[in-house]
Structure formats: structure tokens, C-alpha cells
């Protein structure tokens, strides 16, 4: 019987060289990403009596969720983190000036095809876009990885998703993943691996692939590895020119617990908006069009990349955001920020009424730089619209692609981006 991507990727990191779905294995991790969760990992390491981390060169520490610190307790978290980074000589540290860790991990070339990567954040599934087995752990499990470079894993069963056809104008990979999540439900892939296949994925940009793998966790998926594609090869040549890596392919006769096919030729995909309070409450944009929004937000590890800002700028160029709608844009990283600045994209967005913030997870987790008040409604390119996620428990978040968010910012209400000219 053939093996899935998850089985092969994980198997390559076990002592026996194998990992079969359902088995529990010990696997060696290639790289560990930790964000502010480090403030909780430090006391765990102390209790474990670990004096030195397993490999100070294979860790990225990033202060990304609340950066720069919006209050004294966050400042204290950051202070402890900086102290730890110095004590342990951690080679890769992003203080408040790099951006959101998932984007930074890719830009620094730390995510390589074939790797096993752990992040102390649930959206660490993002690295699946690069043909890595990557998953999110919390503080205690991350501490075990920091201490030993390994941990135990239940090898997930895999769901295969084939996507045929192509995405039409102003329909983005975000729309596709919201559609898939709606089909799967909030726990449709719980404990499992989502394996995306087909021409749409093979021809997709790295950024668009990252968006899909990022949100796989919203169906409960443990990981979402994709096969490598030309865009990933090009990315690796440019961001990790000296790195050695070998991509992994699933076997043709791999066993999947389920296979879903989305044929976009037969049924063209329309922009999707996920209504409160679940990413899997997706509706075709026409069903919610006209809903007034107080805030339109573009950013986060899901959709704050260059292509996201670019499509937003194309849509709002020469126009003005609605006066009753706050239009907030948070580039996913400093590199994205600079690239967008050099391309004139930020200027276009600012002239259309947008506020550009520094790179942070702030608005997405209701931390800072875009928190919602009582009864307020947002349309957001982020990944979660749980109750109270972006602020007040009585606020409402609609999830959509950056194109839909930008169009909605102009109209002050949820708007189909295909309706706007150019």
C-alpha cells in the first residue's frame, strides 16, 4: 500500500524511517518557531530542568502577536523573551521589527521542502505550502521540542482534495479555502492531514498556497502538506539559495480516508464570505452583499502578503474608502511592507483612505491596531471569526479575500469585487 505525503514526510524523521497512519511515533524536528508563547515555554523549561535548548540555530523566536507591546504586561512578556534569547544565544530572533512569524519563516528560508517543522501557533500548518510537515503545538509540547529536538506524533490519516480548473478574475485562493472549509465543517479534518492536489495548486503562487495551508487548521487539520510546484522552487532559489532540500511526493496508490474534488470548470468558484462565528460558515458573496461594515481589514498570516496588498490597491486605486468604514492594512512582514512601499502600493492604499500599520498579529487576535467595539462589524482577510475574536464579544467578523475586503471598504458594505471596474 502506498504512502501519503504526511506519512512519508513524518516517516523520514523517525528512527525506523516509517510512519503509518494511526501509529504513534517519535520524530526529529528540523526547525522550531516560537512566538510570544515563549514567555510560557520558559517556565516549563525551568520546571523540566532544561538548561540549554537543543539547538540554538534551529529556532526562530518572534515577537509578533503584540508588537510593539501595547501595554505593560505584554512589555514584560517581551522583556523575558529577549532575556532568554540572549542567555540561550538563539541565532534567529525577530523582535518587534520583522513581522508575522509564518511569513518571516518563509522569507528567511527556514521552511524547506521535506522538513518537519513545529510552531507554537496553530497556523503553523502554513508551511505545508512548501512541502513540509508542519503543525502547531502549544507551550508544553514546544518546550519538549526546544529541549530535545523531538516529540511524539500520532501519524494522521489524510484527506485528499483535488482542485481542477482555474480561479477566475478577482477570485482568490482564500475563496477556495473558505469554500473547502464550508464543505468540511469546523472539525471535518480533525486530527487529519489535508493534502491538496490538482492543476490549481500546481500553478498557484507561493503566497496563495500559504493562505490555503494556513487555514487548513480551521477544519481541525493537523497539517496540510502540498507537493512542490515551480513557484516553490523559484522561492527556494531566491530565499534559500545555499540550502539543501529534497521534496517528497506521495505514492500514486496512497490510501486516503476521503477524497473530495472541486471542479472549478464545471462549477466556477465565486467570492466566498464566511459569516460569524465560524470560518466554515461560508456563503457566496451575493448572499451577504450590502451588509454594512465598520471596519475593513487586510493583513495577518493568512492574507497580508504582497499579492494581497497588490490586488487591494488595484481595486481601490483612485477611489475613496467609505467615510464610515475604517480601512486598515497590516503587511504580513517588514519585507512585504518594503516591497509594497517600493511598488507604490502603500501610497495607493493610503490615498484611498487606508491606515497602514506595522506588521503584527494585533487586529486578528483582538490585541491592538484594529480592535472592534460593541456591535461593530468587520470584513477581514484574517483566518478566524469566532465570537469576540477581534474584540468585543458582541462584534461580528466576516472573513473574505483581500479583493472582497478592498471592494467592501470602498462601498462601506460587503461588496462583490467583480462588480467594480478595472
Amino acid at each position: 500500500m502506498g504512502l501519503t505525503l504526511a506519512e512519508k514526510l513524518l516517516g523520514n524523521h523517525t528512527q525506523s524511517g516509517t510512519a503509518a497512519a494511526g501509529e504513534t511515533v517519535i520524530a526529529d524536528v528540523d526547525f522550531l518557531m516560537v512566538n510570544e508563547a515563549l514567555a510560557r515555554i520558559i517556565p516549563v523549561l525551568e520546571k523540566m530542568e532544561v538548561e540549554k535548548v537543543w539547538n540554538a540555530n534551529r529556532m526562530l523566536v518572534a515577537n509578533d502577536h503584540w508588537s510593539p507591546a501595547p501595554d505593560a504586561s505584554t512589555a514584560e512578556m517581551h522583556r523575558r523573551i529577549r532575556e532568554f534569547v540572549k542567555e540561550q544565544n538563539i541565532a534567529h530572533f525577530c523582535d518587534v521589527n520583522c513581522g508575522i512569524a509564518h511569513q518571516v519563516m518563509a522569507e528567511k528560508g527556514f521552511v524547506k521542502p521535506g522538513d518537519l517543522i513545529i510552531g507554537s501557533d496553530s497556523h503553523s500548518t502554513t508551511y505545508g505550502a512548501f512541502n513540509a510537515f508542519s503543525t502547531g503545538f502549544a507551550s508544553t509540547d514546544s518546550a519538549i521540542v526546544a529541549a530535545t529536538g523531538r516529540n511524539w506524533f500520532r501519524v494522521p490519516e489524510s484527506i485528499r482534495i483535488d482542485i481542477i480548473g482555474k480561479l477566475s478574475h478577482r477570485v482568490m485562493s482564500k475563496d477556495l479555502i473558505l469554500k473547502i472549509l464550508t464543505e468540511l465543517g469546523p472539525d471535518g479534518a480533525n486530527y487529519q492531514s489535508l493534502e491538496f492536489h490538482g492543476p490549481v495548486i500546481d500553478s498557484m503562487s507561493v503566497a496563495s498556497r500559504m493562505t490555503m495551508c494556513n487555514m487548513a487548521v480551521e477544519a481541525g487539520a493537523k497539517c496540510a502538506p502540498m507537493k512542490i510546484n515551480p513557484a516553490v522552487r523559484k522561492w527556494m532559489r531566491s530565499y534559500a539559495p545555499r540550502a539543501k532540500w529534497s521534496p517528497v511526493e506521495p505514492d500514486d496508490d496512497a490510501e486516503y480516508v476521503d477524497t473530495l474534488t472541486f471542479d472549478l470548470e464545471e462549477e466556477p468558484l465565486e467570492p466566498i464570505v464566511s459569516t460569524p462565528y465560524s470560518p466554515s460558515n461560508g456563503k457566496i458573496v451575493s448572499e451577504v452583499e450590502g451588509t454594512p461594515v465598520d471596519q475593513a481589514f487586510i493583513g495577518s498570516c493568512t492574507n497580508g502578503r504582497f499579492e494581497d496588498l497588490k490586488i487591494a490597491a488595484e481595486i481601490v486605486e483612485g477611489k475613496q474608502a467609505d467615510r464610515d468604514t475604517r480601512f486598515i492594512v497590516t503587511p504580513a512582514s517588514t519585507e512585504v511592507y518594503l516591497e509594497a512601499m517600493r511598488a507604490g502600493i502603500l501610497e495607493t492604499l493610503i490615498c484611498a483612505g487606508a491606515v497602514i500599520t506595522n506588521s503584527t498579529c494585533g487586529a486578528c487576535i483582538g490585541g491592538h491596531l484594529g480592535v472592534l467595539g460593541r456591535g461593530e462589524v468587520a470584513i477581514s482577510s484574517t483566518n478566524r471569526n469566532f465570537r469576540g475574536r477581534m474584540g468585543h464579544p458582541d462584534s461580528l467578523v466576516y472573513l473574505a479575500s483581500p479583493a472582497t475586503v478592498a471592494a467592501s471598504a470602498l462601498e462601506g458594505k460587503i461588496t462583490d469585487p467583480r462588480r467594480l471596474s478595472s
Binding site: V44, M77, D121, I144, A147, D187, I365, R384, P393
Partner: protein
Amino acid sequence: MTWYDTITGRAWVFGDDIDTDQIIQGRYLTLLDYSEMAKHTLEIPRPEFADEVEEDDVIVAGKNFGGGSSREEAPQVIKESGVGCVVAESFARIFYRNAINIGLPIMRIEETSSIPDAAEVEVSLESATLTIKDSGDTISGEPLPSVMKDILQAGGAIPWFRKMRNENGFP
């Protein structure tokens, strides 16, 4: 307490998809003290929870409890509140793992819809059952996998890690 001790307490019944933001909202995560944070446990779905929960009470939920964030603060504040056990029809992967790691007993049971809110219940992880004291009805659950029992038995992943390392090198 060991994993095979019986837990007896009042049931706090919740529905499906209680996500990590419902358990502890992002805005409280920068509080470094878990006891301070625990005052906001399950504040969105049950604002009275933190004030009224008692030692060994049992959280009873439907499908997909703990979906969303990897934040370990979610099981931590539940444990800090004194909850003896969480039973649900299913758990989100990271939450399940986190609960075991911090030594919060947890069990999947077949269906929870027949359990009344505030009912006195008895949970046995060893026999994988939940009994409603008044009616005597018993609902069966899923026995814990052995690695989970080992971790709970040790008191969580920290003491488990130390034990493993001292005995035979981790892992």
C-alpha cells in the same frame, strides 16, 4: 489524583464548537498569572462560570471542543478553575493534546445531549464512563490511549518528561 480516580461534580453543559476564544479570549493572554486569567474562563458562553464553578465540576460539551488556537492557556484556565474533567463528543486536536500535557483529565464520550445542565455526574476515566447520579444512566466513552495515561499518571508532560529522562533518556 491519578488518572483512574473517579471524579464527581456538577455538569456544566455546553454545545458544539466551543472554540479557544470562547474558553479564554485573546485579550487576556498577556496576563502572565493563570489565576488572574482564570477569572475570565468561558466568559463569553457562560459569564457566571468563573464565579460559580466548584472544585471537581465537570465540563460537558458537544462536538469539537477547543477548536482554534494552540493556546495552552485554554486548558490551563479550566484546570485553574478547579474543573475535574472535561468530557465532550469530540475535541480539537491541539486542545486534546494540551489538556493531557497539563494534567487536565479529558474524555470523549459518545453523546452528551442527554446530560442535564447542573446534574451531579460521576466520571471514570478507567472504565471510560460518565454516570448521571440522579437517573443512574451511564454513558460510555473512549478509553485513553496508553501514552496519554502515562502522561496523566505522571501529573502532566513536565513530570512525565523528567521521569522519562531520568529513567531511560527522553524519549
